[in-house]
């Protein structure tokens, strides 16, 4: 029999929500489990499921409390998740996102370069070198948490968040990177601008990426950025 550590644990979240926790780390193998578990849970709960919120290493399962209860949901989850297999991590689609990296479009590039003792060009190169996984979508509509940023580029959040981060801002914080889908306050380090809209409520699909997809950032020139509809 399998004697290794269980792949997940179940914890109450609220009167009608259960958390499925995997090993709490940002890693492709854990993200693979989260991705595998989603459809299994949807199938097992069927019409009793109200909402499924996957993240880095957890899934929140929200059920209809008038049609079922915690006891039944936990049993269904245990049955469904017995089909999980460790180690397999099949990424979704690969999505290219163009970025105009410059000190004009990325006001924190110089600070990162100085802090990390790199040239600005090296910072830009390092950010593009990695293939990022969409670990989670949330916080705000269209906000995709991408990881992992190269160890050499790890930057803490700003001590004082900016009151206004522009739409399309490409940013890093710790080992995460993201594109701000809309103008908002934000405390991440800004390194460039992406002209691809990250959230278009009137379009289908509304987002260019989904959880599990892989993102490749590709540097573009200012002229290309403007031609693609970017605004400075």
């Amino acid at each position: 029999m399998n004697t290794s550590k269980p792949l997940y644990s179940l914890t109450v979240a609220s009167e009608n929500a259960v958390m499925v926790y995997f090993e709490q780390k940002m890693a492709a193998d854990i993200a693979g489990l989260v991705q595998q578990a989603g459809p299994l849970i949807r199938h097992a709960l069927g019409p009793h499921l109200l909402e499924l919120l996957p993240s880095y290493a957890s899934i929140m399962v929200v059920f209809n409390p008038f049609s079922t209860d915690h006891f039944a949901v936990k049993q269904w989850l245990q049955q469904a998740l017995s089909a999980l297999t460790a180690g397999s991590s099949k990424p979704g689609r690969r999505v290219e996102l163009p970025v105009y990296y410059s000190e004009q479009s990325g006001p924190d590039l110089a600070l990162i370069a100085k802090t990390k003792q790199l040239s600005v060009a090296e910072v830009i190169k390092l950010h593009q070198q990695q293939l990022y996984r969409v670990y989670a979508i949330g916080f705000a509509p269209g906000f995709a948490y991408l990881g992992e940023v190269a160890e050499k580029l790890t930057m803490p959040r700003l001590k004082t968040p900016r009151a206004r981060v522009p739409r399309g801002a490409v940013a890093i914080a710790d080992r995460q990177t993201a594109v701000y889908p809309a103008v908002s306050p934000g405390g991440w380090n800004l390194i460039g601008l992406c002209p691809t809209p990250m959230f278009q409520p009137q379009q289908h699909p509304a987002m260019p990426v989904a959880v599990g997809d892989e993102v490749q950032f590709v540097a573009i020139s200012k002229a290309e950025f403007l031609a693609l509809g970017g605004e400075l």
Binding site: S14, E15, L53, Y56, S58, F66, H70, A136, A140, G142
Partner: protein
Amino acid sequence: MSHFEVINPGVLSLIQDAGRFGQSPLGLTNGGPLDAGSANWANALVGNSANASLLECSIGGLQLQAHCTATFAVTGASVTVTVNGQPKALWQSHHVHSGDIIELGMASLGLRAYLAVAGGFNITPQFGSSATVMREGIGGLHQNGAKLQAGDKLPLTSGTTLPARQLPVAIQPNFDFSKGLSLRLIEGYQHQMFSAVQRQRFYLNSYTITPKADRMGVKLSGPAISCSSQSLLSEGISYGAVQIPPDGQPIVLLNDRQTLGGYPKIGSVLSLDCWQLAQAPAGTVLQFVKTDPQQAHNALLLAQARFQRQLANM
């Protein structure tokens, strides 16, 4: 076209339905009425289902002109309601004719009033719901998250009238929170990362509602609670979740909360109790009382049964 025109939107008036569900893959939150009980009664008094679009009027000051015959009801916070200057009772349906002016005064007890019309407002849903979430720019009359503005024309599904209905005074909720609130809490999430001493402190002390309260959540102040872990991976946040940020002051998350977050949570307030947080003014004192999932489930089913029995008796 049958419609109500907004003469004055008041302090903050929003179109809401029961909420937007199943859109978390895009990062969209639930929205919906902060006081679901009052909103459900407003709809029920005019013969609507719980998901019909209605108006949530915070603080008061809403003024509408009917451009058709209609039946409407106002529930929730104690506001004066007049039609052409004539006072009308809350928790009761009334008829209006084309040209009539409906006016809501400022709330004296409670903060949110609900105005429903028979048939509901006919609002194009966005991502399956008309709920207005200003922070996201989603939902509402123009599907852009905007609050109501003077001149907005709110279409009615049907300009029909219905026999008047009334909720008996004895079962109308109480909006006098001066004696304090008691919020039932289902322990969960990271509650085991809070030591026994911290948990006792949380339950034995009173907390006060601060002015940092909106549709996203309500910040409380009181004895600081500490958690053994401060760095969590962001995870799903349930309705009513009690998040403890590094300053130790609890935040109860409500309808327009962010879908994911990384602060430790000690558990979640029972949904049946959350409305009080949105109706009680800053300075209201409250205490958390521990409950468990079975008791919570029973309470939900009981509340539903009571609502349906009362509705059947109307």
